[in-house]
Symmetry: C2
Subunit: 357 residues, 2 copies
């Protein structure tokens, strides 16, 4: 794929959640059609996409039809089964590329990659056996946190160690999954950068946002982040380094800890990111359109910020606040069309807008 996709082309999206929904909307704004691949029915993205392939990731016939129906493939989540990717890549270009996926699917690969390109990460060690676990605690220390190498998100697949005595329980909590012990980082806050890289190497990053989590799930992102301007610049430069090292095409989320010794990369996500939802009301071109522009081979848009924004996730019963929020003039609502407001489920978000300071 060397030429920009013409308007009217079809963009395939793996995953039909809220990120796929907002990607579909952004694609429609540029005149693209979208085709969503998602095993679940009545998924958020299917409401706004042209087509929905409702099939499992091991349905090779459905994957073939999907791969043949679209002009480029992107994704809203990083845990796409390898066999599905193998099949799709043979049919159609997948953006961002395989390397970004391979690295971000596995916490050990991710940390090794980040160290390799000269970025700071928390001390870490792989844990496959109870013996590894004890070695890792001796090396990395405690407090620390044990995380599965793959498939963890929103605090799932994690066990905290207050001290070395928690080691056996934490190991048991992994249920035999390969894990990584990460040293505790004494950080003052977490920030994230949403970076984008076009097919021709052009890079653009949105202003770093400051993230607050609640119960392991992102609660709010605030822009501007309350950190010195120099640190914000550092964060953007680090995101740029990651994008270039991966020869990345698309939008990437980079979470960073702010520590007295500078920035430490927590993790990267090879996709649009919850902490970038503020861009929908803070910028002319949001992270979703930026991603679509990149994967379509278009130039990136201008991501400069025109407002201060606090993004708040609406999780589970937070939906009860919608009537009140809908009457608040400073609030822009974004709801995902999910039927059941289950505990811990991301149902929507709001952006609270104020003039740029």
């Amino acid at each position: 794929m060397t030429k920009p996709l013409p308007t009217g082309a079809t963009i395939g999206i793996l995953g039909g959640g809220q990120l796929g929904r907002m990607l579909s909307v952004a694609a429609s704004r540029l005149g693209f059609k979208t085709c969503v691949f998602e095993p679940g029915g009545d998924c958020p993205a299917s409401h706004v996409a042209n087509y929905h392939f409702q099939a499992s990731y091991d349905d090779t016939e459905a994957l073939r039809k999907f791969g043949e129906a679209v002009d480029v493939i992107t994704y809203e989540f990083e845990n796409i089964p390898t066999s599905a990717l193998d099949q799709l890549e043979a049919l159609c270009e997948v953006r961002p590329n395989r390397r970004a996926l391979t690295i971000s699917q596995d916490r050990m690969n991710e940390k090794a990659f980040l160290q390799e390109i000269g970025l700071n990460v928390a001390p870490f060690m792989a844990v496959d056996t109870l013996e590894d676990m004890h070695k890792a605690v001796a090396e990395v220390g405690a407090p620390s946190i044990l995380k599965t190498r793959t498939l963890g998100y929103d605090g799932k697949g994690q066990a905290r160690l207050r001290d070395a005595g928690d080691a056996d329980a934490a190991f048991a909590a992994m249920n035999g999954a390969s894990a990584v012990l990460e040293g505790f980082v004494d950080f003052s806050c977490e920030i994230s950068v949403i970076g984008a890289r076009a097919a021709d190497g052009q890079v653009a990053c949105f202003d770093p946002g400051e993230n607050v989590h609640r119960d392991g799930i992102l609660d709010t992102t605030t822009v501007p982040a309350s950190v010195p301007a120099a640190l914000r610049t550092d964060a953007v430069l680090m995101a740029g380094r990651i994008l270039n090292a991966l020869d990345y095409v698309g939008v990437l989320g980079v979470e960073l800890f702010v520590t007295p010794a500078g920035l430490i990369v927590n993790e990267i996500a090879p996709r649009v990111h919850n902490s970038g939802h503020w861009t929908q009301n803070g910028c002319v071109i949001d992270q979703f359109e930026q991603h679509i522009r990149a994967v379509a081979g278009w130039p990136l848009g201008d991501g400069s910020r025109h407002a201060d924004v606090v993004m708040e996730n609406l999780i589970g019963a937070d939906m009860d606040k919608v009537p009140e929020l809908s009457a608040d003039p400073a609030v822009a609502l974004h709801l995902y069309g999910k039927a059941d407001a289950k505990t811990g489920r991301k149902m929507g978000h709001i952006n609270r807008i104020s003039p740029k300071t």
Copy 2:
């Protein structure tokens, strides 16, 4: 319909063009599903709607299914056949109401209504026969413009009279359709107000924009309009008067001529309006979401403007400029996903953004 629609409800939209497309996207942002009724296939709105009833407006079976599938009905064009409306109104509430449609479908009704509520319109007279035509030219004078009473848009169904000698030719151009002769208004510019009224009577208007037409089709809308602040306030108050007089629910476009003697109403459109597309990048809540909020019985959003904007329509071959426009950092692109860039066809628009002055 006395209660606000809950998120997850389905909004029916009559018409599947670009306005329906952008209404669908706005509805999705609030968690609503959309169902589009449009005879044409592969229409712009069908790309982003949950369902597309592809059927003609005299297909009573399809209309019944549509009316039963949705929780409220709105429309993107005012020329909905009366028989279809009769059937749908019996099944489901239609917003904006029938009176707004009846008035705006017929230029004579519209002008009579506007005069009745004390607003200024151009001198006018109904023309059904050649005898009427000559009377009308004697009364209204020339230059003037003869327009069909119904179904005209974008300069279609109109004939200009430079002087009384053009009367017979203009009359012949109507092909027997009932028409209205409108006196020439010596205006310095045209402005328009996009007003919204909620089910509870709350009214909110966007800043008036200044419109320039080319070949009878809207070319650009600029905000702020280059008219004195007092005139902008007048325009907004006039829009408010129209909304209240019609007991209107939804967004309404009001076109006004700026003359030395003040504002003269050119026409009203009971729907989102091309001259309101700037709101997508100039406001947190755009005209499309404002309309959806109103028809869903929600409170209106804050429509205050945070940027200066020039909206430019992309018509026909203007699509050739898309690659260049996509690289311009001050430009937000909005493309409609139409397959053929025919001459005179609205294919998309751009909003050129600059800081608010």
